[in-house]
């Protein structure tokens, strides 16, 4: 291995296509969808659908292969135990092995590049991408092959469908450990019964009411057990007792739907629970840990989305100023730059720092190495950087910046969400701090 900073040709090629989507199916609709909050970006959705279905097919195949391998390994360990140390039979690899990802995967690297470009197009519209989204990611990460098949096949065919993840509640945002939604097992019907309220669920309405989608819902099976009692459940569209009660009106990313979902004795099959139903704390608590781990893979994606908006704002500002004769002069000593040039320089450098942190977190992810620290660093940095960059852009363009005739003011409103969801800036900083100090959540609250 050697240090390298080069976008692979395959990614470059795909990026050119995504840029076309951004320019033709996103930017032209940006303002209209910002003005008409609950309208859907159909042009974009229809354009993305075939590609997304193909991507989901590949994801599902890979996830199934991984899940099957895990199962195989678990069985091998078990039988090994039973037979008192007899060597494991040399079983043939599972059929799906062939499609399992190669060691040097660039799947996530490709993804963050695409998302950066889509968000450069429009971050709110981007979120309406058809597919399993965060819910799908959780199922891929911890679902059994059967669950992956049952819940995710829908995303590979037919009309567009959406997925979502519902964690946040009115009294539990950053403090995910405080969720109140309950799941009670009813042995009579072999079902889980869900009760409670989720808020701020991205794509919640699209997933539950406007398509045959599903939502991964976090609920507690044992309030006394704290985090160990928290489990993810898959709730499919059409489940009785599931009500989309409200769609939020927001500062930005208005094209994205943000739903309140009420669970009123909503019954779902016993095997809609993801991971182990047993309440276990510590290393045995694989379900919670596993799904929490998906944050390590989704935070770079949010960072990438942030950076896409930041780049849009930076490029627009730079190019508009250049037309007016205010050109960036790379190479001049700092003390010879004008205040505006110094601001542009700062914006561009901030963006680059955030992007490189994101790429590093992503490279680790593709190499299947631990990246908790790196992904939180990237997310914290990107959220903060683009908040600053987009605010600066509005400032530097003066009356044009604040005007809704251009998109800069919208990008500033859109950008802010990246410092809030998938862990606020503070929460990600807290994670970084705990990692570098070697502290537990009790030592650093």
């Amino acid at each position: 291995m050697a240090i390298e900073f080069k976008t692979p040709e395959v990614i470059e090629k795909q990026l050119r296509n995504v840029q076309i989507v951004a320019e033709h199916a996103m930017r032209p609709d940006s303002r209209r969808l910002d003005d008409n909050e609950h309208e859907r970006p159909w042009r974009y959705i229809n354009m993305m659908l075939p590609q997304m279905q193909e991507l989901e097919r590949a994801n599902i195949a890979a996830a199934k292969a991984r899940a099957a391998k895990k199962k195989e390994a678990a069985m091998a360990v078990k039988s090994n135990g039973h037979h008192g140390g007899v060597a494991v039979l040399d079983a043939p690899p599972p059929a799906e092995e062939a499609v399992s990802e190669p060691k040097e995967s660039i799947a996530n690297m490709t993804l963050v590049h695409m998302i950066e470009m889509l968000s450069w197009g429009d971050a709110g519209i981007y979120l309406c991408i058809p597919g399993g989204a965060l819910g799908g990611a959780a199922i891929q990460a911890v679902g059994t092959p059967e669950q992956i098949e049952r819940f995710l096949t829908r995303y590979t065919e037919g009309p567009p469908k959406w997925g979502a993840m519902a964690m946040t509640e009115p009294q539990a945002g950053s403090d995910t450990g405080n969720i109140q939604t309950t799941a009670t097992f009813d042995p009579a019907t072999n079902e889980w019964v869900l009760n409670g309220q989720k808020i701020f669920c991205t794509n919640g309405k699209l997933a539950l009411e406007e398509s045959d989608g599903m939502v991964v819902v976090w609920a507690t099976v044992d309030k006394k057990a704290g985090r160990a009692g928290m489990k993810p459940f898959v709730v499919e569209a059409g489940t009785p007792g599931v009500i989309v009660a409200k769609v939020e009106e927001k500062l930005g990313i208005r094209a994205s739907d943000t739903a309140t979902i009420i669970f009123d004795n909503a019954r779902i099959p016993a095997d809609n629970i993801l991971g182990d139903p047993e309440v276990q704390s510590g290393p045995g608590n694989k379900g919670f840990k596993g799904a929490m781990k998906t944050f390590d893979s989704t935070r770079p994606i949010v960072a990438a989305s942030a950076i896409g908006i930041g780049r849009a704002a930076f490029e627009f500002t730079r190019d508009t100023l250049a037309k007016e004769g205010v050109k960036m002069e790379y190479g001049k000593p700092r003390w010879k730059l004008s205040a505006v040039q110094a601001d542009l320089l700062e914006m561009e450098a901030q963006l680059r720092a955030a992007w490189l942190l994101t790429l590093k977190a992503t490279a680790l992810l593709d190499a299947r190495q631990e990246n908790k620290l790196e992904s939180s660093m990237a997310k914290a940095k990107a959220g903060r950087a683009v908040t600053m960059i987009t605010q600066k852009a509005v400032e530097l363009l003066g009356p044009l910046g604040y005007s809704t005739e251009f998109l800069v003011e919208k990008w500033m409103r859109d950008a802010k969400i990246n410092d809030i969801y998938e862990g606020t800036g503070q929460i990600n900083t807290l994670i970084v701090a705990r990692e570098i100090l070697g502290y537990t959540r009790n030592e650093l609250k």
Binding site: K336, A349, L356, A363, Y439, L444
Partner: protein, 363 residues
């Protein structure tokens, strides 16, 4: 691809330099600063690492080729040890690296072997001038062609190790562009003036040098007829300085982190408070972000891509980052950070130097 793993050779080199920095630079850094003097022994052991010959072609007596990336990797370690002593150690580079980058075959042959010997070479460079708004691309010092010679006139400052130097590389303006000239110290008109006193990096001896009607043969123009490209030199300088800044910042961050876990106030370690822990977390984020920008610029330089912009962004970002981080470290230590018993105040003073040294250090 995007890959962030050093080669095994780079890892070994970085390890070696880190050990040197730990054992030698850290051992002398306070003493060197206070006495304004770099001990001979640490220079010799530093020179024996063979870092500069590692960047010089075998045909001139070295054993490698230049890599801005490899350089950036170990410069971070050296600056982590101590910036003042490191700049002393890097002084020969200020002459040798431009020769290797821009020199004609004849110049390389004549000069590069001097940097592949056992003893620390006595060569330096004169770039910075005592003016406000100093700009390496618009120098006041002039070189005028007269017959087969160049005549150099002007005042320089911040010239490291000028008093002991036998060779200078002097940057001057020639018909509107910056060029460089090889000037032996004993040439008539070369006047090494007083040692300058700075806010930081006080271990490093730096001088004012005046060039008054200094005549050198035209063959001493670096790069011959082709000359040098100042922006390429500045790119290298920016990568160098930004890498050093990352090292200084990392030193401060590590020290503050360890201190914050030990220091108890109000019944618990101060690191238990977010206002301290978050400062540390942000230091870590900024150091890592800057380091990646430095690596990217260096990678581009090595692969022959245009690295100017990447280096410019990295350097400007690093200038600010190193101040934030070193200042943060002083703050984490509270009153103790202000006292010279701890190194953080020194790192803050050193950190302030980076913005000023633009163009003056290449390694």
């Amino acid at each position: 691809m995007y890959s962030f793993d050093m080669t095994s050779e780079q890892k070994m080199l970085v390890d070696t330099v880190r050990r040197y920095a730990e054992k030698n630079l850290r051992a002398v850094h306070r003493e060197a600063e206070e006495s304004k003097h770099v001990p001979e022994k640490v220079v010799q052991t530093g020179w024996e690492l063979g870092l500069l010959p590692g960047f010089i072609d075998a045909q001139y007596g070295g054993y490698g080729e230049y890599s801005a990336l490899t350089s950036a990797l170990y410069l971070e370690e050296m600056a982590w040890g101590d910036l003042g002593v490191t700049l002393h150690l890097l002084t020969p580079n200020l002459f040798a690296i431009p020769i290797a980058q821009f020199g004609s075959d004849k110049q390389k042959e004549q000069y590069l072997s001097l940097f592949c010997n056992d003893s620390f070479p006595r060569a330096t460079a004169a770039m910075i001038e005592p003016v406000v708004q100093f700009d390496p691309a618009e120098l006041q010092t002039t070189a005028v062609k007269e017959g087969d010679n160049f005549v150099i006139n002007g005042k320089k400052t911040y010239v490291p190790l000028a008093r002991q130097a036998e060779l200078f590389l002097v940057y001057a303006q020639e018909s509107g562009t910056t060029q460089a000239y090889i000037v032996p110290a004993d040439t008539q008109g070369v006047k090494v003036g007083k040692r300058i006193k700075l806010m930081g990096v006080q271990a490093l001896e730096m001088y004012e040098v005046e060039f008054e009607n200094v005549v050198v043969p035209k063959g001493n123009r670096l790069g011959g007829l082709k000359g040098i490209r100042i922006q390429k030199l500045l790119t290298l300088s920016r990568i160098t300085l930004a890498a050093l800044a990352v090292g200084v910042a990392r030193a401060a961050y590590e020290y503050a982190l360890a201190y914050a876990k030990e220091r108890v106030a109000f019944g618990e370690p101060i690191a238990h408070r977010q206002s301290i822990a978050f400062m540390l977390a942000n230091m870590r984020i900024e150091i890592e972000g800057t380091r990646l920008m430095v690596w990217e610029a260096a990678y581009k330089f090595d692969t022959g891509e245009d690295a100017a912009k990447a280096a410019y962004l990295a350097k400007n970002y690093a200038d600010k980052m190193v101040l934030d981080v070193t200042d943060g470290a002083v703050q984490v230590l509270g009153g103790h950070g202000y006292i010279r018993e701890h190194p953080v105040e020194l790192w803050l003073r050193n950190g302030r130097g980076f913005v000023t040294l633009d163009g003056a250090v290449v390694a």
